[in-house]
């Protein structure tokens, strides 16, 4: 799948994002990395121009609760409701529900084996093929973890 890995907001640490990007590449995906400090509208434009099927958002700054829902809303408004969104980084347990409600389908914290992310994408692709809700604009009942 074509996957955009993005770093939203003011956060200069992308070791995690690069590890994920590398793991997805080795799993046979085409990975586009945005680089650091992207605004929600930058990210939505990149997802559109690259015609990505999946968006992975990595954030360590603590701003996930405002940035990620904003990005999900922008995606829906831009007609990109089919895009599958997952998140990673430092995201406290109490914020998971908020992210799932905004359209995120999986959240991967520190220590996650990279194979988990690949398993998630495999499942996500299966759901997409079977027309089960999985995009950011679909019904939001299902999430991976």
């Amino acid at each position: 799948m074509r996957v955009v890995i993005a770093k939203p907001g003011l956060d200069g640490h992308d070791r995690g994002a690069k590890v994920i990007a590398r793991a997805l590449r080795d799993g046979g995906h085409d990975v586009i990395y945005t680089g650091l400090r992207k605004t929600p509208s930058d990210i939505v434009r990149i997802v559109n121009d690259e015609d990505a099927e999946v968006l992975g958002l990595s954030t360590l700054s603590g701003a996930h609760d405002s940035l990620i829902p904003k990005i999900c809303n922008h995606l829906r408004e831009a007609g990109l409701g089919n895009v599958i969104v997952f998140a990673g980084g430092i995201i406290p347990e109490r914020d998971l529900e908020l992210l799932y409600k905004s359209g995120v389908r999986a959240v991967f914290g520190p220590g996650t084996p990279t194979s988990d992310v690949l398993d998630f994408l495999e499942e996500a692709l299966l759901r997409k093929q079977n027309k089960h809700p999985i995009g950011v604009g679909d019904d939001l009942g299902w999430h991976w973890n």
Partner: protein, 298 residues
């Protein structure tokens, strides 16, 4: 197939009307179509940018894009990066170097995995360029994967070619070698802020002069500091497509179309399997593939 084509034409119309979502979908459709849709634009302006890995192609394109946008052009970039021969995946990171500022609506960047295409560049790139031109993009740039001396397929697909190299890339013997140097319209030695850039540029100028060719400029630029970019752009803008290159271009275009017919052939996997077990020879494989390509009227 007919449905597919009407779908593509519909996307093209929406993209021409300015719908960016359709433009992006159109690029994907062109890449995925089993038969490459052919578009033709009367006024396309295309530039290929090639050179070895790490020469600074993406960073330099980023600088050029800024200049063009300021001058009121709308710029589309097709950036190729390699596909892993092991996993089939890719890490497409050219756009990081081009996205210093928010580029906005007048810039379109699409990353493309090179795939297992001979020469590293698929003939559908040409169709993408034509479609982008029809949609009103006035400067269309194709960045190749980092190349060696012998990958010049790109020359077949663009109107003008910029070769970017760095300083300290060997001596005059390197510059004497035939290949991409002969096809480039403009040659830029990037990283002019580093030592030896001047002598690298001089080596190449000497080499060109020895072959009686002093029509081409060898420019020093620093993509990092933005030095020399204006001169580079004006040189590229004013270069006339060279007529003596036409034969080479047609040759490359022919080979590239043939390659693509071959690699997208419906029986190719089957034939490779037969080759692996030795039930046919390579010559027989060529016979089978080429005769069915001829029969299908391609």
């Amino acid at each position: 197939m007919a449905l597919e084509l009407s779908n593509i034409n519909e996307l093209l119309e929406l993209a021409i009307s300015g719908d960016r979502r359709s433009l992006s979908r159109l690029m994907t459709k062109i890449a995925e179509s089993p038969q490459i849709p052919k578009f033709h634009s009367e006024s396309s302006w295309t530039l290929g940018v090639t050179g070895p890995p790490g020469a600074g192609k993406s960073t330099l394109i980023g600088q050029m894009v800024k200049h063009w946008v300021t001058a009121g052009e709308s710029v589309a970039v097709l950036a190729l990066d390699p596909t892993s021969p092991i996993s089939g995946g890719s890490f497409l990171a050219d756009r990081i170097r081009m996205e210093g500022d928010d580029l906005g609506e007048t810039v379109f960047v699409r990353s493309i995995a090179s795939g297992n295409i001979p020469g590293g560049i698929s003939p559908y790139i040409w169709s993408m360029c034509q479609a982008l031109s029809l949609c009103g993009w006035t400067r269309i740039v194709v960045e190749t994967v980092g190349t060696g001396q012998s990958e010049f397929r790109i020359a077949a697909l663009v109107d003008r070619l910029l070769l970017v190299d760095g300083p300290d890339r060997g001596d005059i013997i390197q510059a004497e070698k035939a290949g991409i140097l002969e096809l480039a319209d403009v040659i830029a030695i990037n990283k002019s802020d580093l030592p030896r850039a001047v002598s690298s540029a001089q080596s190449i100028r000497t080499s060109l002069a020895l072959s009686g060719d002093d029509s081409r400029e060898v420019l020093l630029v620093s993509a990092l500091e933005g030095v020399g970019v204006e001169k580079l752009i004006s040189t590229i803008e004013s270069c006339e497509p060279r007529s003596e290159r036409n034969e080479m271009i047609m040759r490359e275009r022919l080979i590239s179309e043939w390659d693509s017919l071959l690699v997208t052939h419906s029986e190719i996997d089957e034939i490779i399997a037969k080759l692996c077990i030795g039930s046919i020879t390579v010559n027989e494989a060529i016979q089978i593939l080429s005769s069915s390509i001829v029969q299908s009227g391609e």
